[in-house]
Symmetry: C2
Subunit: 226 residues, 2 copies
């Protein structure tokens, strides 16, 4: 019974996500949906990434949390337009759904945006099931979290195009086999692109920033839908 | 619509949880539901805690993961009876529900158990909403996760009786204000008991182990329901 109910919710979501995808395509906006466990370093990563992309790539962020505006406050300091979604207004949802993204996008000037980043609710499970109309999905995995996480949460890694192994600056202080972690990620999803980064020190960020920039430029160059 | 649906699922769960609670009371078993984000160190914590409780306190563990038996394999090595639940058999659920615990408990010899620990699916959101018939709930928060997590995920901290700030051995390598983290936990839930621990080094574990032992002894000493 529970499963049938979830399917129905997901069907409604997919229809809304397709609407979002059409809207973003009309505006030539590349949309990147960034997901992870709580505390993997998404917000710190975005602070650094946005600083490197701006002003050439005009960025905007929709950030989801159950409560608080902590993340939006931090990201606003970068000068990028930020919309904070608090899912406690939507029943305390553990993910961002397509209709929530649509409403949040209404608060942005979409004609002035090349790259829209969705910072999802910290959760390695549920957000993977909800298409929000993005072009690509990414997952951040902190090296403090254990090498077996991709095997335990395979859907997340299967749906993502990019995986960021974050906090590599802590490796000297951990018993962590980063090669095994990367191997586990690739076992679950052989085509995924893996980046090893430290959002804190900036180490390894440039290749990921280049990837994002190239995707945004590509989308921008597509002839606008009349 | 979505919220109404979730309420119905939760009502069914509460009825099943009450059944579980009756069963565990009949058997004089203290049940502790341990929750956290993925990678906060629940399994390592339990390895150390079980070693300190056994054999005086007869322990058993039900461990939930979406996939794999990694955690059960590790915990079985302690000699404690372990039942692994893979929620991908139940639609990939992001939490352990009461009916799942009931089924898993059927695989244990409940007459030989004083303390049943439920290691929930790694998720700081959804498991907080599902009563499984436990006596007390606990949450593990790794000091690598950011001080503001209790404010961002308040329900988890509000429903828990115990919070464990884990991985304190990493504090010298982090920009982390553990006093602020504890303050945030207590802001959300003033009556919660906070322990600062390192599952890896064993630092600070004894007071928490003593708390668990006392709860299990208390429940054991209650006259059995005829």
């Amino acid at each position: 019974m529970e499963i049938k109910v979830v399917r129905k919710v997901l069907d409604v979501n997919d229809t809304m996500a397709a609407d979002n995808r059409r809207l973003f395509a009309e505006k030539n906006i590349f949309v990147f949906n960034l997901m992870s466990s709580p505390g993997s370093g998404k917000t710190t990563l975005l602070e650094k990434v946005l600083a490197r992309l701006m002003p050439d790539i005009r960025c905007a962020v929709i950030v989801g949390d159950i409560c608080t505006t902590c993340d939006a406050d931090r990201l606003s300091a970068t000068g990028v337009p930020v919309v904070q979604v608090n899912t406690d207004e939507f029943g305390g949802d553990c993910h961002l759904a397509a209709h929530v993204i649509r409403r949040a996008a209404g608060d942005l000037d979409l004609d002035s945006v090349d790259l829209l980043i969705v910072e999802n609710v910290g959760n390695l499970v549920c957000p993977a099931e909800f298409d929000v109309g993005e072009d690509k999905k990414g997952v951040v995995l902190s090296v403090t979290e254990g090498e077996e996480k991709p095997l335990k949460y395979p859907l997340m890694f299967r749906v993502c195009d990019v995986a960021l192994l974050n906090k590599v600056d802590l490796l000297p202080h951990l018993d962590y086999d980063i090669d095994l972690a990367e191997k586990n990620i690739c076992t679950v999803h052989p085509q995924i692109q893996v980046y090893r980064v430290s959002a804190k020190t900036g180490q390894g960020l440039d290749p990921f920033v280049d990837w994002l920039r190239a995707r945004a430029m590509e989308k921008k160059s597509v002839a606008r839908v009349p």
